[in-house]
C-alpha cells in the first residue's frame, strides 16, 4: 500500500511549487472581496424585491410615493430601526440574540428627556442616551458572558425591567423636548443636499458596522464565536470577553437609536421602540444573517430594514390597514428563510 502514498508525496510538492493553473484560481480569487458569492446573490435578490416594491409604489400611488418628502420619510423611518438592526446583526452573528433592544431604546429615550437631563442641553441628551444604552448592554453582556445565562432569558429579563423602569421614570407621560438644537436636527432646514441628518447617522453606523464586521479582528472573532464557540475558545480567542463586548455594542446602537428617535418625535416616551426586537431580528434574518450564528451581513440587514419600511409606507399610502401589513411581513419572512434554506443546502452538499 505504499503506492498511493508515494504518488501523493510526489504530487504534493509538484503541485504546490508549480504556478497555479491560470483560469481556476483567477476566477475564484475575484469574488471574495465581499462575503462570498452566495451572500451576494441573496443581497441581489433583496435588491430585486426592493425594486419590485418601488415599482408597485410608483404605480399604485405615483404622486404620493415618489414624492421627495415621502422618500425622505421612508429613509428616516428606516434609520432608527436600522441602527438597532446593525447592533442586532452583530449579536446574532455571534450566535446570540438580544430581545431587549426595544426596551433599551425606550429607557434611553426617557432617561435622556427628563427635565433634569434636558438642563444640560444637546450634550446632556446625547450623552445620557448613549450611556443608558451602554449600561443596559453591559448588564446583558455580563449576564450572558460571565453569568452563563442563555441570551434569550437574560435579554428577556432586561426587556421586562427596562420597560418597567422607563414607565417608572415617565409615569406614563410623554416628555416633551424643549432643547431646540436637538429638535432642529429633525427639521428640513437641517437637510444636507436633501438628506436628513438621521439618514446620515444611519449611513455612518452602517458603514462603520460593515467595516468592523468585515475588516477587523473584532468582526472576525464575532463570526468565529458564532460559527463554532468551542473551536474559537480552543484557538485562543477570549469568547466571554467577545460576548460581553457584543451586547455592549448592541446597547450602544440602542442608545444612538434612542437619540435619533428623540430628534424624530421631539419627545421621550416609555412606549418607544415597541416590538423593535422583532423587526430587527426579522430584518437581519431576511438579510441573510444566520440565526444560529457564524454568518452575518450588514448590507443584507440594511436591505431587510428598507424592504420592511417600504412595505409599511406603500400600505399606508394605499390605505391598507396594519393587519394586512403584518400578514405581508410574516409572508416575506417565511419566503426569505425558505429561499435561504435552499441556497445554503445547495452550497453545503
Amino acid at each position: 500500500m505504499t503506492q498511493p502514498v508515494s504518488s501523493a508525496q510526489q504530487g504534493g510538492p509538484d503541485r504546490g511549487a508549480a504556478p497555479a493553473p491560470v483560469p481556476g484560481p483567477r476566477t475564484k480569487d475575484a469574488p471574495p472581496r465581499g462575503r462570498g458569492p452566495r451572500v451576494d446573490v441573496r443581497n441581489l435578490s433583496l435588491i430585486g424585491v426592493l425594486a419590485v416594491l418601488i415599482a408597485v409604489g410608483g404605480i399604485t400611488e405615483p404622486d404620493a410615493f415618489l414624492d421627495t418628502g415621502n422618500l425622505q420619510l421612508i429613509l428616516t423611518q428606516a434609520s432608527v430601526i436600522g441602527v438597532v438592526t446593525v447592533g442586532m446583526t452583530f449579536v446574532i452573528t455571534s450566535g446570540g440574540i438580544d430581545l431587549s433592544v426595544g426596551a433599551m431604546v425606550a429607557l434611553a429615550s426617557v432617561w435622556a428627556t427628563t427635565v433634569a437631563t434636558q438642563e444640560y442641553g444637546f450634550a446632556g441628551i446625547l450623552f445620557t442616551a448613549i450611556a443608558v444604552g451602554l449600561a443596559a448592554g453591559l448588564v446583558n453582556g455580563l449576564l450572558v458572558a460571565y453569568g452563563r445565562m442563555v441570551p434569550f432569558i437574560a435579554t428577556l429579563a432586561m426587556l421586562a425591567s427596562a420597560r418597567g423602569l422607563a414607565l417608572q421614570i415617565t409615569d406614563g407621560k410623554t416628555q416633551i423636548v424643549t432643547v431646540t438644537s436637538v429638535l432642529d436636527l429633525g427639521l428640513p432646514d437641517s437637510y444636507v443636499l436633501g438628506i436628513p441628518p438621521l439618514v446620515m447617522m444611519f449611513a455612518a453606523v452602517t458603514v462603520i458596522g460593515w467595516l468592523v464586521l468585515n475588516r477587523t479582528t473584532f468582526g472576525r472573532r464575532t463570526v468565529a464565536v458564532g460559527g463554532n464557540a468551542e473551536a474559537a475558545r480552543l484557538a485562543g480567542i477570549d469568547v466571554r470577553r467577545q460576548r460581553l463586548l457584543l451586547y455592549l455594542l448592541s446597547g450602544l446602537c440602542c442608545g444612538i437609536a434612542a437619540f435619533m428617535l428623540i430628534i424624530l418625535s421631539g419627545s421621550g416616551q416609555n412606549t418607544n421602540g415597541n416590538l423593535y426586537e422583532l423587526d430587527a431580528i426579522a430584518a437581519a434574518i431576511i438579510g441573510g444573517t444566520l440565526l444560529s450564528g457564524g454568518r452575518g451581513t450588514i448590507v443584507g440587514s440594511v436591505l431587510g430594514v428598507l424592504v420592511f419600511t417600504t412595505i409599511t409606507n406603500i400600505f399606508a399610502l394605499n390605505n391598507l390597514q396594519s393587519d394586512v401589513q403584518q400578514i405581508a411581513k410574516g409572508a416575506i419572512i417565511v419566503a426569505a428563510v425558505l429561499v435561504q434554506r435552499r441556497t445554503s443546502e445547495h452550497g453545503e452538499t
Binding site: A8, Q9, P13, K28, T216, T217, A224, E230, A235, G236
Partner: protein
C-alpha cells in the same frame, strides 16, 4: 451443534462511509443462551457492526438471518420488534424522566392507546429491577439522580422490558466499579439462563474469560476469527489476531542521531498534573524535536491529559511549564500565548470554522499579526495563510476554498497550518489521523515528523497503537488514567503495548 438453527447469523456484512470501509465482509454467528464476545481494536468495526445489528446503520451488502429466516433490519424499531436490544456505551436515557418512564419509553402501558397507566408501569418496572437484583432503585425517581451503575441497570431493564432474545452490550463495564461488575455478570448469567443471547463487547480480556462462551475477533473491518472458545484460546493468540494489520503504514524515519538531544532544555514540563476522576498525577518532559506518544484505550485519560495541558480543562493539582515558565492553570489563552497549539480529536466540532475559508481558519489564532489597531491587513493575512498551507502541501492550493469542502487529511493540515503560522513550540495532537484516509495518513506522518525536525515538540495521542509506535520517539502507556509504562518507542511492539493496556481491571 444442536439441530436448531443459530439465533443470529450475519455473513459477509459490508459497510462503507465516505473514505472508509468500516466493514469489509464480517461474519458473526450467535446461539441462543450464549455470551458471545466481540473483540477488536478501536476502529476495527465493532461499533459499526452493532449499529447494523441494532438497525441504526443499513449495511451495503451481506445477509442477516434471524432464527433461520433472512431479515432486513431497516430501523431500530424493526430490530427491537424482532427482539434485539442494544445497550450503547453512551447510555441513551432521558434524564428528566423517571426510571419507569425510561424503561417503558415508546411502549408505555396505556388505556385507549393514549393515557399512560403510570402505576402499572411503575409496578412492572419495580418487578424488572428486582429481577436484576436492584430492588433499591425507585421506579418513580428521576434517572438523572441515579449513579452511572444504576443507570446501566435501568438500560438493562429497558432492554428486558421488550420481548427480547438478544442483548448487545457495548463496553458495559467501562464505567463500573469492580463489585458493580460482579453484579453485571450475575445479571448476564441470569438472562442467558433464560435462553437470551448476549453479544458482549469489552477491551478487558479478563472479563471475557469470566463470562464469555465464544469470541469473534474483528480487525480492519473483517472477522479474523469467528466463534473461538472464550476460555481456552490463549491470550497471545487473541492479541496476535487483533494486531498485525492489513495496511502497512509508511512512517518517516526517525532522526536517529540528535547529538546532545538530552542536553537541550525541555520546552514543555508537566509536573504532577492531575484531574480527579480522570487521570492520576502525570509527569512529562518534552524537548524540541521530540515526539512523545500517549498510548491507551478510549477512557484511559489520553485526551483529558492533552486538554488539561492545553488549559481547556482545569487541573486539580500539578503544573505545566513552557520553557521553565509556569502557565496559569485552566487557561487556553495562557497556553496559546506561551506557544502551545492543539489539534483536537473532534476536528469539526472543536477546531474548524466550517462556514469559513481556509485562510480564516488558519489565521484565527494569529490575527493580531496581520492587524493594526484591530484593522486586518487581508492581503498579508492571505499571503501568510497561503505560505503556511503550501508548506504542508494542503490541497487544493487556494486559500479561499471553504474549509468544509476539504478532505479529512487536508482539514487536519489546515489546523496544523494554524499553529505553524502562530509559530508555536509545542504541538498537541489528539487522534491526528482520525477520518483521514490511508494514503493521506503517510503524508500527515511525514509532515508531523518534519515539524519536529524543525524544532517543534510534539505530544501525540492515538488509539491506534501502530501509529504511536511508528511516529513517536518515546511512548507513555496509559491504563485507567495512570501511566503504567514509559519506554523508547523502538523498544516496544504492538503486542507488548496491548498487553499493558488491557491487563485486566486495575490492581492498584
Amino acid at each position: 451443534m444442536a439441530p436448531e438453527p443459530p439465533l443470529l447469523t450475519m455473513s459477509g456484512i459490508t459497510k462503507s462511509f465516505p473514505g472508509v470501509r468500516a466493514l469489509d465482509g464480517v461474519d458473526l454467528e450467535v446461539q441462543a443462551g450464549e455470551v458471545h464476545c466481540l473483540l477488536g481494536q478501536n476502529g476495527a468495526g465493532k461499533s459499526t457492526l452493532i449499529k447494523v445489528l441494532a438497525g441504526a446503520h443499513q449495511p451495503d451488502g451481506g445477509e442477516i438471518t434471524w432464527r433461520g429466516a433472512p431479515v432486513a433490519l431497516k430501523s431500530p424499531i424493526a430490530a427491537m420488534r424482532l427482539g434485539i436490544a442494544t445497550i450503547y456505551q453512551e447510555l441513551d436515557l432521558v434524564e428528566g424522566l423517571s426510571v419507569a418512564e425510561n424503561i417503558f419509553l415508546g411502549h408505555e402501558p396505556t388505556t385507549a392507546r393514549f393515557v399512560v397507566r403510570t402505576r402499572e408501569g411503575r409496578t412492572a418496572a419495580g418487578a424488572l429491577l428486582k429481577r436484576l437484583g436492584h430492588p433499591e432503585i425507585d421506579p418513580a425517581s428521576p434517572v438523572g439522580a441515579l449513579s452511572a451503575a444504576q443507570q446501566q441497570i435501568v438500560s438493562m431493564a429497558r432492554a428486558l422490558s421488550h420481548d427480547v432474545r438478544l442483548i448487545v452490550m457495548d463496553e458495559p463495564s467501562a464505567a463500573l466499579d469492580p463489585d458493580e461488575v460482579d453484579n453485571l455478570f450475575r445479571i448476564v448469567a441470569s438472562v442467558t439462563a433464560d435462553g437470551v443471547a448476549v453479544v458482549y463487547i469489552s477491551h478487558r480480556l479478563e472479563e471475557i474469560r469470566r463470562i464469555g462462551d465464544r469470541v469473534t475477533v474483528l480487525k480492519d473491518g473483517r472477522a479474523v476469527a469467528v466463534g473461538l472458545p472464550a476460555e481456552s484460546t490463549p491470550t497471545h493468540d487473541i492479541v496476535a489476531m487483533m494486531t498485525g494489520r492489513k495496511v502497512e503504514y509508511v512512517f518517516p524515519p526517525r532522526t536517529t542521531s540528535r547529538p546532545g538531544a538530552d542536553a537541550t532544555e525541555p520546552v514543555l514540563t508537566v509536573e504532577g498534573l492531575t484531574r480527579k476522576g480522570e487521570f492520576a498525577p502525570v509527569d512529562l518532559e518534552l524537548r524540541p524535536g521530540e515526539i512523545v506518544g500517549l498510548a491507551g484505550l478510549v477512557g484511559s485519560g489520553r485526551s483529558e491529559i492533552l486538554e488539561t495541558v492545553y488549559g481547556a480543562r482545569r487541573p486539580t493539582a500539578g503544573r505545566v511549564k513552557v520553557a521553565g515558565k509556569q502557565l496559569r492553570p485552566g487557561s487556553v489563552r495562557a497556553a496559546v500565548a506561551a506557544g502551545i497549539g492543539l489539534a483536537p480529536e473532534e476536528r469539526k466540532a472543536q477546531a474548524l470554522l466550517m462556514l469559513e475559508s481556509v485562510t480564516r481558519n488558519v489565521s484565527v489564532s494569529s490575527m493580531s499579526r496581520f492587524s493594526r489597531a484591530g484593522w486586518i491587513d487581508r492581503g498579508a493575512e492571505r499571503r501568510a495563510a497561503r505560505e503556511a498551507t503550501r508548506e504542508l502541501s494542503l490541497r487544493p492550493d487556494n486559500p479561499d476554498t471553504p474549509v468544509r469542502t476539504l478532505s479529512g487529511g487536508n482539514q487536519q493540515k489546515a489546523v496544523l497550518a494554524r499553529w505553524l503560522l502562530r509559530g508555536c513550540r509545542v504541538l498537541l495532537l489528539d487522534e491526528p489521523t482520525r477520518g483521514v484516509d490511508v494514503g493521506a495518513r503517510a503524508e500527515l506522518y511525514a509532515v508531523i515528523r518534519r515539524l519536529a525536525d524543525e524544532g517543534l515538540a510534539v505530544l501525540l495521542v492515538s488509539s491506534e497503537v501502530p501509529e504511536v509506535l511508528g511516529l513517536a520517539d518515546r511512548v507513555l502507556v496509559l491504563r485507567e488514567g495512570r501511566v503504567v509504562h514509559t519506554a523508547d518507542a523502538r523498544e516496544l511492539d504492538e503486542h507488548r503495548v496491548l498487553d499493558l493496556v488491557m491487563e485486566g481491571s486495575p490492581t492498584s
